[in-house]
Each structure stands twice: as C-alpha cells, then as structure tokens.
C-alpha cells in the first residue's frame, strides 16, 4: 500500500508524461492580457444597484436608532437596509459552539467591533451609495470595551454577550497518555509564553458579491468569490431562512487571491441577498480596502503557555498547552476551527506520547476571526518551535540534535499521534540533512562566528513543522464533549468531487468544485486528466466556476486546508480512471482485444504492443454520443463520470477525543540566518532555506510558487504585519500604509529543497503544501532573531521598534530640559495638548466667555452652530481639520467642575463621517502682568476611520486644533474681534503661534 518513492523532482517526472512536469499554466495567457473574469469584471443584469455598508465606528455600543430619511431623499439612493429588515427576513448565523450569542447579518441593538455592519445603502452607483451612507444618522451609546486578551479574560471585564455572562465561550481540556506522570518524572521542564498576533493574508482583490432575491418561492441567487468550505452554504441558507436548494451560489472563474480570507465572504453574501430583497433589484457589492482591513477577517490572536517535560537527552516526553484564542466579537463559523484544525497533531513532527491541552475561546471587541492561510498552524508552531529552541538552550544541546532525537522515525509511519492525527508518511531526518547540506549551514555558522567576533548581531534559527492537508470535516465537533457528540451524531470525512465528461466531438471537460484563487488548479487538473487519457493538457478543458445548483459538490468543497493536490486532483484522477475504463471496454470491442490490453497514448486508443491496431481518441470517445446502441450490452454510455472521494482515514473523533484532523501531512524544515542592525533594529535575512516534503509534486513550478508566496507571507507575519487596536477598541490599521505587507525589497529569495515521500492515502500520493511556510517561517525567523539577541521572549511582529526594545536603547538625558513632553499613547489616537496663552483680559472676562454660548460659539474652531441643551451643556456642529483633512462633527460640549473665575473642565464628544473624537481638559486662569494667563491641559482621543487611516497624520493635529480653541478663547475674551466673521484656520494658527511662543 505504501509507495515510498523518494527522489528529486527530476526523477518523478519519468513516471508520467505530464504530472510531475512544470508545464506553463493554461490560465496565464488570459490573465496576462487583461481578460481575467474576476467578480467586478463580469457584467451584471441591467437594473443592478450598488451597495455601501455603514459600519460601526465604536468597538462596543448600544444602537439606539437609525435615521435614514435624509439618505433616502438623495437622488439615486433606492433603499436602506437596517436591522429591522434583517430580523424579519433572516435568522442568526449558526456556529459550532452552542451559547446564547447571536450574530446576524447586521448589528441589531448592539455593535461589538469597529467596522461591524449596521446598515446598507443601495443606490445607482457606488459613489452615490457612499454619499447616501454619509447621510444616515446612527445614534450610538458607547459601552466599555474588552480589547486585549488579558483584559477580556479578567473577572471584571465588560461582557460582550450578556446572556453568556462571560467572554470565555468555550473551555475544553484534553488529556492523552499520562502527561502528569511524565511531568512528575521529567528530568527537565521547559516552558514558554507565546503570543501570536492578529494578521491576515489580505488578498489584493477583496470580496465581490452580486446577489438577487428572486421570490419567496424561488429564494435567492448569488455570485461571489466565496471560496468555501461549502459547509458554510448551509450556514448561509439557514440564515436566509431558505432550503439550501433555494440559495443558488455561483463562483467567478477568476479570484484575486484568497488564502482562506474569502471564506469570510459568506456573511456578506447573506447581507447582500437581503439588501436585494429590500431594494427589489439585484445588488452588487465590491469590498474596498478600508472595509477589508477593518472588518473582513483575521487569524486568531493566540496566547499560549506551553510547557515540555524533557528527559536528560532532550527528548520531549509530554507537552502541556494552555491556549486562549481571541476570536473577536462573535464566534463566527467555521470557528473554533482555528483551534481544532491542528488538534490531531499538536505534537508536531515529534514522537511525544503524552499531551495535555486546555483551550479557551475568548471573545473581544475586535473583528471576528476566520480562515487565514496556515489556519491554526502558525499559532501552534510559533509556540512549539520557539520551545524547541528553549529546550536546546536550557539543556545546552545542539538544536539539530534535539530535532533528530524527537522526530517521528521513518519506520513509524503511518504514525498515530497522541491526539489522534494519523501522519501518513515522511522521512524527516533525511530532509533535515538535505536542507543543511544544500543550504550550506556550515557557512552560516562561520558567518555567525565572524559577526559575533566583530560585535555584530547575527543569529541562526530553525523550525520543523508538519503541515496538515485535506481537513476532516468532523474536527470542529471535538470542541463539544463526547456525550454531546454522541447525541448529535458523528461528523467526519472530507469529500472531494470531480466530474469528467466527453462532448460530441470527443473533447474532454473536467469540472471541480475547488474555487481556486491563483493556484493553477485548472492546469494541474488538465495534467492529471491528460496522463490518464494519453492526451495533451492543452486538449483538456477545466471549468472551476461552480454552481451549487448544477455541479457536484459536498460540504467539504472549496479551496482551503491545502486540499487540492491530495483530494481534488486525486478525485480528478479517479474520475478519469473510471471513465477511461469504460472507454476501454467500448474500444476493446472495436479493437477486438480484451479491455485490459487497451492503451491510451498520444491521442490514440491502441492495443498494447501493436500500434497498428488503434483508434483516434476523440472519435472513439465521442462515439457513445452518436451510437449508444453499439455499446456492449448492459453498458451505460461512457460519457460522464462523477467521483466522490473521501479518505477513509478521516473518522469521527472517538470517545477519548482523539481525531485524525487531516488526511495527509507534509513536512517542512527551515533554516534562517539573520543579521540585526543595532542602530535601527532592522532584521535582514542573510539566507533562508526551506525544505519541503509534500509527497508527489504534480507541477513543481507551481509547487515552488506556493512555497515562495507562503514564505513572503511568513516574512510579513514575522517582521511587519499586525492588526493594531487602541485600548478603546478603535482600529488602527485601515490602509496599506498602516498594515504593512512585504514588498519586493523585503522578501529575499529562499533556497528551496524538495523531497517526495508519497502519501499512501491519496490517489496520486500527493499532499498539500500551500500553507507550510505560513507555519514554519515566522518561528524560524523569530528563533534566528532570538539567537542573534540572546533573548528568551520574542513577540511578533519583530518590527524595528520591538527589536530595539529587545536590544535596549541607551537614552542619555538632556543636559538642559528634564524630560520630553509627556504623551502616553492610549485610546484610539490619544493626543495631549497643554500650553498657555497670555490674554489681555481679566480672569472674570475670560471666564465669562466660557459661560456665554454665543461667545463660546466663536471660540470653538470651525463651529458652525452651538445650541444650548442644558446648564453648561451644548450641542455643536463643528468642522475640524488639519492639513488637507477636514471633517464635520456633531459634538456635545460640556462645562463642569466650575470654580469661577479660576478653573473649569471643558469636555467634548463628537461623531462625524470620518470617526469620533472625544476630549477633556482642565482650563486654569491666573492673573498675569495685568491680564490673565490661561493654562490648559487637554487630552483627546480620535477613533473611527480617521484613526484607522493615516493616523500618523493626525498626531499633533489635536494639539493644533486645541491650541486654536484656546487662542480663540483668549481673543474673544479680550474683546479682539477676528478680522472676518469666520477667520480661516490658518490665520488663527499664525496668530496662535506668534502669541504662544
């Protein structure tokens, strides 16, 4: 059963004509010439309208009301969809953990993360829809927030879902073998705390949804770049209150990258279906970059405490994981898959018989999480592979020896890991040796020695990972206790489908439900089918734009968990084989031979050993169309075969919570050498070697492409990518100038080393390799930096700032001034301003201005209107700006802590289309040189879009605006009238600057 063919790429290609060769892609000519058919490129029905989503600027707030009157009056706006409509026409999304928490397609009475959809404006163009969105007034009452993991875990944290009463929505413990005994007997215990940040693979194309409500009977039709898993089709249908057959979901031929991220298109498919129902027309939504970064999806942030029981020689006898996953404001399907996808192989590439796990799912006021390439793997391996380095250091054993002693041995495969993973095949040590030799590790050790002698910071790191592929759809059920699982019935398997058909001219078409987004699935499917039928791949047509109403698919359909090479290509192979067998039977009659003697080669069907007895493939294959009666008795026309393949190793979790979470397991071993600049904290990769064993490589060039792409994303995760939030939950990474992706200047060229240990469990012996470097690269780079700096705690991303903190900055004080201006960064964009203004007026006169609304209106910069709403309380309409950024705020201003004529507190809170701002400051008045010295000490927070985008442009802006306010106050009080009724921002600033200096 086990076919161990180990060789270099060059060897594997001799076995087959096309599979194993790096043939150029059939997708490319179309894409290169601008004829791609991505979601926003395809035409829509006349009358299709366009949607803009109104999103919460607050991380946590009650929604008191929505007023869309003004928006609806705008010409071109046709409808506004709100929570009321959602409640009438849909249901909350189902999710794998049963708790009293509800997530609907729009926020209902509460918003729980910045960016949460609150309403949808539908208009004749996206431009007008955005105009309309700005006119919708939403009344929010902010609530306290739970943002950081530690904070959200605490007893007195604000709770997101009242009925649950806690932010921990699931806690599960697992024990395999006898971990307590192993720890008690261990020669050493090594432990580590690891924190993995929120990040995403942010494809360059965002979500695109085109939805149409047909009728109450016929339901909905939607086209989108949703990429699966199609288990979520049921979630969408249930949310829309229709049978799955009345939600027709179609894909586009081309998708601009997904990396798991387009799994999170599903709630928007539902939302736009409902928007279409409201508008009475088809609705198209194209996600923009701000929306995508703020509210599409993210990998879970994970806090892990990991401890290993280690014997004297560095062998791990037990692992103890305590993990907390920050899943955001709602647990959204398919979560908690980020935990459980890896569950069967929490022991990684090592033979560790004892394992203890505690998993807690935590909700926070941040965007909900979902599939992101690597999916659970980066979080696990960042902890585990950092721990391997710690073991090596604390036991003073060479790291490579630690790996060798712990690796699963080649004769142990298929290896049943402690938590149930059945690792199909591998030879880990051989790949390690190959990586070391090809990568010239000896040179790197020499460079490190030289560098250290010269006082430079140079480090080497390693990582070893087992990369699961072809998910067991039952794995998420392990979040429930065994008794509960028994009650709801077992879930397991991972069905891949492929359909092959012959047309009346003998042309071959392959249809798969794989929703590719750039991986070249059509090319590989063509290679696989071409090998079986003896044709050229160019002759095979592959269609990947699936249609749930017409194509063969299963809950496992889609493109995720690297299932293509093993499962989908395997299913294509099996379908092609079946059709070929039938064709062989039919051809054998014409060739007067036995079916087993029939060969398919070079476009012909021939008798083995006698090329003169042959038939052309096309005509023969098509003959069943034209003369089905001539087929052998009892034989169905061999025109179409559909295969549903599921690996038999994917069984449901057993009563001991053991589950084989994936069907095939690749292996990667990485080596990284870095130099760290002690002036700037910049990490430069000197050399990166990545060794991969993914079983049979179907197209080596495409395989290397996957490795390079994942590597680049791993570099990003290691060095620069993180979704940042303020302590008030405001989102700070809303543009590509804030969320940094590596460019061609930041991604070096890795050395790639291959090994092919075939899988005994997949039809072609192939395993997935699309996610390996997302898992292996971040810890490898982290280990290299930790080695360079000789530190224990390393947090991602290793930005220059973080690295400098690790190195330590020598900051000698100034001879003159004692300290720099204090400006702690808290909140959204927290800005402080303090200063003084000398005014030629008495304290009483100045104070009187503050209490006089008409005078105050002239004081507040950009104030268009000020209305008294109570004692010392006002509603103001204020235009505030700095540089070229300007926004109009609806603000509330309050005066309090009045101590006339000495001091008072001035507070304001305002909301605008660009975000919210609030601030509070103490104003003190003192007599000075015949007039008054006004001192102010003010703190402001700015959040929302204006904080999310180009926040750096705002730093200091509040200082200037507040300076303007108090300068103006002074002018008003001293009776100087401004040179015009509403002096320009710049005039006020100039006067302020000359006065204040």
């Amino acid at each position: 059963m086990s076919q161990e063919v180990v060789g270099h790429i060059e060897d594997a290609s001799t076995a087959r004509a096309h599979v194993g060769r790096s043939i150029p892609r059939i997708e490319d000519a179309t894409l290169l010439t601008g004829r791609g058919r991505y979601g926003d490129d395809v035409g829509v029905k006349p009358g299709t309208l366009y949607a803009a989503v109104i999103r919460s600027p607050h991380a946590h707030a009650h929604v008191r009301g929505i007023n869309a009157q003004t928006a609806l009056a705008l010409p071109g706006v046709r409808a506004v969809l709100t929570g009321e409509d959602i409640r009438a026409w849909s249901r909350p999304f189902v999710v794998g953990v049963k708790q009293p928490m509800e997530q609907w397609a729009l926020a209902m009475d509460r918003v729980r993360y910045v960016g949460e959809p609150v309403a949808v404006v539908v208009a004749e163009s996206r431009y007008i829809a955005e105009d309309g969105a700005d006119l919708v007034a939403v009344d929010y009452e902010p609530l306290p927030v739970a943002v950081e993991i530690e904070q959200a875990l605490s007893e007195d944290a604000p709770v997101l879902h009242d009925k649950i009463g806690s932010n921990i929505v699931s806690e599960r413990r697992f024990s395999y073998g006898d971990p307590d005994k192993a720890f008690a007997e261990a020669a050493h215990r090594v432990e580590l705390v690891a924190k993995y940040p929120r990040n995403s693979c942010t494809p360059i194309e965002g979500a695109v949804v085109i939805a149409e409500y047909i009728s109450p009977e016929d339901g909905y039709e939607v086209s989108s770049n949703f990429m699966g898993p199609f288990s979520l089709h049921t979630v969408m249908a249930l949310a829309l209150n229709v049978p799955g057959t009345r939600l027709r979901h179609r894909g586009f031929r081309d998708s601009g990258g997904s990396f798991g991220v387009k799994q999170a298109v599903f709630p928007y498919a539902v939302l736009m279906c409902l928007a279409s129902r409201k508008a009475g027309a088809p609705v198209k939504w194209v996600e923009d970059r701000l929306e995508h970064l703020t509210a599409a999806t993210t990998a879970t942030g994970r806090l892990t405490r990991l401890e290993a029981a280690v014997d004297a020689e560095g062998r791990i006898t037990a692992l103890n994981y305590d993990q907390v996953d920050d899943c955001g404001a709602y647990l959204r399907a398919p979560e908690p898959a980020s935990f459980y996808r890896m569950h069967g192989v929490m022991t990684g590439a090592y033979a560790i018989p004892n394992l203890k796990i505690r998993n807690r799912i935590l909700l926070t006021n941040k965007m909900p999480t979902g599939l992101v390439r690597g999916f659970g793997g980066p979080q696990v391996y960042f902890a585990l592979e950092r721990l391997m380095q710690r073991i090596s250091i604390e036991l003073d054993i060479d790291p490579l020896l630690v790996y060798r002693r712990n690796f699963i041995q080649p004769d142990a495969f298929p290896y049943r890991a402690a938590a149930g993973g059945l690792i199909d095949s591998g030879n880990y040590e051989r790949l390690l040796d190959k990586a070391i030799s090809v990568g010239r590790l000896d040179e790197l050790y020499a460079r490190r020695e030289t560098a250290r002698a010269e006082g430079r910071l140079y480090g080497i790191g390693f990582s070893a990972i087992v990369e699961p592929s072809i998910s067991n759809m039952g794995y998420v059920s392990v979040v429930s206790l065994p008794e509960k699982r028994a009650k709801s019935g077992p879930k397991n398997g991972g069905i891949a489908t492929a359909t092959i058909s012959i047309d009346p001219l003998g042309g071959v078409t392959v249809v798969v439900a794989s929703s590719p987004a750039g991986q070249g699935h059509r090319t590989v499917c063509a290679q696989v089918a071409a090998d079986v039928f003896g044709l050229d791949p160019k002759e095979i047509v592959v269609n990947v734009d699936f249609d749930t109403q017409k194509d063969a698919w299963s809950v496992a359909a889609g493109n995720y968990s690297s299932r293509f090479a093993g499962a989908v290509a395997g299913a294509v192979h099996l379908a092609a084989q079946r059709l070929k067998e039938k064709l062989a039977s039919a051809a054998a009659v014409h060739l007067a031979c036995a079916p087993e003697e029939v060969l398919f080669r070079e476009g012909r069907i021939q008798v083995a050993g006698d090329a003169s007895r042959s038939l052309p493939f096309a005509r023969t294959a098509a003959s069943a169309h034209w003369a089905p009666a001539l087929l052998p008795k009892g034989m169905e026309p061999p025109l179409r075969e559909t295969v549903y393949w599921t690996p038999e190793q994917l069984s449901a979790p057993d009563e001991k919570d053991r589950v084989n979470t994936s069907a095939a397991y690749s292996f990667a071993f990485d080596i990284c050498a870095v130099e760290v600049d002690s002036d700037t904290g910049k990490v430069t990769i000197d050399r990166y070697i990545t060794g991969h064993d993914a079983g049979r490589l179907l197209n080596p060039a495409l395989a290397e492409g996957q490795i390079r792409g994942a590597f680049a994303q791993g570099v990003g995760a290691a060095l620069m990518e993180e979704f940042q939030y303020g302590s008030d939950g405001s989102f700070l990474s809303g543009t590509f100038a804030d969320y940094l992706l590596p460019t061609s200047c930041e991604v070096p060229d890795p050395i790639i080393v291959h090994q092919e240990t075939l899988s005994p469990f997949t039809p072609l012996g192939a395993k997935g390799l699309g996610e390996g470097n997302n898992m292996s690269t971040p810890p490898c780079i982290a280990n290299a930096v930790a080695d360079a700096l000789s530190v224990k705690e390393v947090m991602l991303p290793l930005t220059p700032s973080r690295v400098m903190d690790l190195i330590g900055i020598d900051d000698p004080p100034s001879v003159r001034a004692p300290t720099d201006a204090p400006s702690p960064v808290k909140g959204g964009r927290a800005l402080t301003a303090s200063g003084e203004v000398r005014l030629a007026a008495s304290q009483e006169a100045v104070f009187a201005v503050l209490l006089d609304p008409s005078a105050l209106a002239k004081v507040i910069p950009g104030c268009n209107e000020l209305q008294s709403t109570g004692e010392n309380q006002y509603k103001a309409d204020v235009t505030v700006g700095i540089g070229m950024i300007k926004a109009r705020y609806a603000a509330e201003v309050t005066l309090s802590e009045l101590d006339p004529p000495n001091s008072l507190r001035l507070s304001g809170a305002g909301l605008s289309s660009v975000g919210s701002a609030k601030g509070s400051g103490i104003v003190k008045l003192e007599p000075h040189a015949g007039g008054t010295l006004l001192k102010y000490d003010y703190e402001a927070e700015v959040s929302g879009k204006v904080a999310a985008v180009g926040g750096r442009m705002l730093e200091g802006a509040a200082r200037i605006v507040l300076g303007q306010l108090f300068e103006q106050l002074g002018r008003q009080a001293s009776g100087e009238s401004p040179s015009s009724a509403r002096p320009s921002l710049w005039m006020r600033l100039l006067r302020f600057l000359r006065r204040a200096k």
């Binding site: 460019t743 700032s801 400098m804 201006a821 950024i885 320009s984 600057l993």
Partner: protein, 275 residues
Amino acid sequence: MKPYAFDYLAAGSAQEAVALLAQLGGDARILAGGQSLMAVLNMRLAQPSALVDISATADLNYVRVESGHLIVGAAATQASVEWRAGLAGEVPLLALAIPSISHFQIRNRGTVCGSVAHADPSAELPLVLTALDGEVVLRNKKSRRSLKAREFFRGMLTTARQPDELVEEVRFPLARPGQRVAFLEFAARHGDFAIASAAAVGHGRLIRLAVGGVADRPIVREWEGLDESVIDDALNEFAWDLQAQDDHHASARFRRHLVRRLGKKAIKAVQAKEA
C-alpha cells in the same frame, strides 16, 4: 472608497490658478500630482467644494537652473527632477533623497511643490529644502512673496501658505564647490515614510544637519566645527530639543536614538578631512 462630489476646474495658466483661488476661497484645493490629495479624497477625509487642477498647467511645469538655484515649478513632477541628467552635480542632496520618496510610480505623478505644500513632517523634500535653506515662492492674485524653508514650514501639515496662495515654485540652492552632502533615512520598508531622517551639508568647518520625522517639521541645526569629543553631546541635545513623541510606529526614545545614530553618520560623511 469614492470621493465626495466637487467642481473641477483646470487652470490654463498660473494666473488663472490664483484668480480661481481668490474667487473660490478656502473650500477649494489645488490639485497638483494628487498623490496625497486624491488618497485623502477617496477616503472622504476632506470635502473640498472645488479642485483647481494645475497638473497640466504649462507655465507651471518647469525645472531650470537660474541664479544659483534649481527652480522647480508647481506642476513639475518628482520624476522630472529625479531623472534629470545633471541633478547629481546640480543638487546632489536631491539626487540622494528623491529615490527614497515613496515609489517610482508615485514619483511619476507627484509634484515637488505639492510635497512641500503638504508639509508632512516625515517627507523628504521639505527636509532637503530645509537642509539647503531653500526658498518657497508663494503667489496669489495680487502678488508674490518668497519665504525661506524655515519660515514656510510651521508645524505638522501646516505652512505659511494662505488659502488664496499657490506654492508657485521652490528653489534649491545649487551645490557649492567644496560642499559635501549626506542623506540617511530609516523607514519600516523601502519607500515608507521616514521614522527619522537626516540630511547634512558640510562646508569647511560648518556643519548643517536637518532632521525629519521626529519633530512636527524638519528642524535644522548648525555647528561651526564638531570635534569627536563634542559630537555625541551635541546630537543628544539636538535629539531632546526635537521633542519626539511616542506613536504606534516608534517610541520617542527610538526616535532620539535614530537622531543620534543617523545624525552622526550624516555628520561624519560631510565633515571635511582635517589636514
């Protein structure tokens, strides 16, 4: 992300541009390269009622050498200066700094005067102009005035330009014989805004160092001779005087550290070798 609606006027000449500014008032904005303004408009962070487009205004599109300066008109792109054949000889500091401005594609449309008018505290062109003690020429309907860089840049994104004024041209002093220049920048990635940058000019014993990205605008300091024994203290004082702030990209301490390190490298590069 689509902009709010606005009126659009293409100025056929510099005179027309300033006449329009006078007529339209504070709610109109000049559209030059648009590489900053269009991003702001697309994100609806500003709502000007009108745009006055000077990007195709022929009499504003010039780069020429005159009276000891390289003079760049308001419509001239950064690329037109970057790819200029004699630039390294004319204004070597510009030749060193321009490649750090964002990316090739942005420089192809972004203007020199636009970057100066925008006055981002981390921007390279305001830093170079300040280091060289260059000039900004402002023009409105009635008159022109010329300001030195240090008078022009008032604070973060804030300049001396009045709403009815156009930055008509900027003037970079040409390199003088014996003058040495250096430019160093530290950014998160290639092309990103500077977390800290240093531009130095050395002539004889005179050292002039301008730092960007730390204070709310480029700040210059000059020394007459800087021995090895005093250079660290001088840089330290300068670093503290800049009043660095913490933000999400870098702490104040880190910024001071960069001033010390980058500043020192820049100064050493321009110090004349003593006999």
